[in-house]
């Protein structure tokens, strides 16, 4: 276990960790507003076309969505666990947990891809082959444009997260992190949890509308 030193612009390691955390939280605030631009569009059109959004919501694959949500939550749980393990100098445990979390994230992406495929077959892809019950077509088109834009962006975030987690896992396996030095793994964890948070909201906005009836 090597002794960690703060970077030259910091006086102490805790100061450096604190700065890293603060930086990540600032970045996440940015991300909230990045997705926020789309979410506003969603709320505006949902207000404008409530019935259409309900009808469109019923065409989403709630089973896949629910399973995926479970996977992401679990993967987030594993990462939180890995962070505590890393702080206890259990680098190998942390590495395995991160790999497991990555695996769940990968399954998420695969299921998401399968869902896209099904939607393509059901002619729900705007611009390619969109076809919908004429009474609700207008709002549904907006819904599915939102759907593909926002889940696509989220999937991109997941993909980036997978790479980050694997890189961190490799470093954790080498025992790079300890109670004194664990900024990279905590910060990467923050990012992964945030991806989870985004999905929690997307699940509520995409899969749940219109489930309670006609």
């Amino acid at each position: 276990m090597h002794e960690a030193h703060p970077a030259f612009q910091y006086a102490t390691l805790p100061q450096q960790h604190d700065a890293a955390q603060l930086g990540m939280w600032t970045f996440l605030a940015t991300e909230v507003l990045f997705f926020g631009g789309l979410i506003v569009g969603y709320f505006v059109y949902r207000f404008g076309y409530p019935a259409d959004f309900a009808a469109a919501g019923r065409h989403t694959k709630i089973a896949i969505g629910a399973i995926n949500t479970g996977f992401l939550l679990t993967s987030s749980f594993l990462v939180a666990w890995a962070v505590t393990a890393a702080k206890l100098d259990l680098g190998r445990v942390a590495a395995w947990l991160l790999v497991l979390a990555t695996l769940l994230g990968a399954i998420f992406l695969v299921l998401k891809g399968y869902e896209y495929l099904q939607e393509f077959h059901e002619r729900l892809v705007p611009g390619r082959n969109f076809q919908f019950d004429a009474a609700h077509a207008r709002g549904a088109l907006l819904f599915f444009m939102f759907y593909f834009a926002v889940t696509g962006l989220h999937a991109l975030h997941v993909a980036i997260g997978l790479i980050v987690l694997l890189a961190i896992a490799a470093r954790a396996r080498q025992g790079a992190y300890s109670l004194q030095y664990h900024a990279p793994i905590t910060v990467a964890g923050l990012y992964w949890h945030f991806v989870d948070v985004v999905w929690v909201f997307l699940f509520a906005l995409i899969y749940l509308p219109g489930r309670s009836g006609e």
């Binding site: 004429a134 009474a135 077509a137 207008r138």
Partner: protein
Amino acid sequence: MWREWIPFWRPGVSSYAGDIDLLFAGLLAISSLVVLLLLVLLVTFAVRYRRGSNADRDHRIKKTWYWEISWTTVTLIGFLCLFVWGAVLYLEVYGPASNALPIYIVAKQWMWKAQHPGGQREINELHAPVHRAVRLIMASQDVIHSFFVPAFRVKHDVVPGRYQTLWFKAEKTGVFALLCAEFCGTDHSRMTGRIVVMEPAQYESWLSREDVGGTLASEGAKLFRELGCSGCHMGQSTVRAPPLEGLYGKPVPLQDGSTVIADEGYIRDSILLPKSQIAAGYEPVMPSFAGRVGEDELIRLVAYIKSLADEGRPQR
């Protein structure tokens, strides 16, 4: 008029232009006072307390708190007065007009098309009577334009996909510039026209001089038959489709329990998107006419359906 003496000022000629000019004068007066005050203070301080001068620098203001609170309060109150002034006037300008003459405007890259209820059509020109409120129902065929008449002190954007209304009442005869104020592409700066304000009698004679095929409503009636609308909406067949007589301006109960007022916008959208708002008691069987009728034709259909409002409920 004193205003005409100022070289860069052309007085407004609409009913609300005087008020807007007064607001401008008020804003100008307040701003000039503030600028003058600041200028005097800045110059006085900068000269009096220049480095090397022997001015007295003792007894500097230590407690800044009182000063801050007082100028914050004064500024805030002043600003709130200006807000109320501007807002009240805005409500008048963008509010409803009573007893107004409707004229339809279609904006497209890069021209203004006006259609009078009597069927007269003009391009980049708009004839209007003096001392009479005119209500414009505006639509755009492509991008966002903005109907701007500097002499009337008014403008309104024309956003595609819906009707926008604007009213004015000219108080002076003459020819005034009509401009497009929202950037709309290559010939944006040439999308200009003239507003010709005439005495009522002259206006009437202009209307009758114009070569017209028929009134807007009668052309709409022709279209109504050609497009096959009458097959469902007329005479005995109104079982499948709601009758349109007496529709305009009335509340319409919808299938989902809500009601809407049947204004121009509703009629327009019912033609383009018949399935979005179904009148209560009818099946959603009407096909959409989006893409089959342009804004010009829509205006005629809307004018026709509006004209049915006055017929009450004949042969049923």
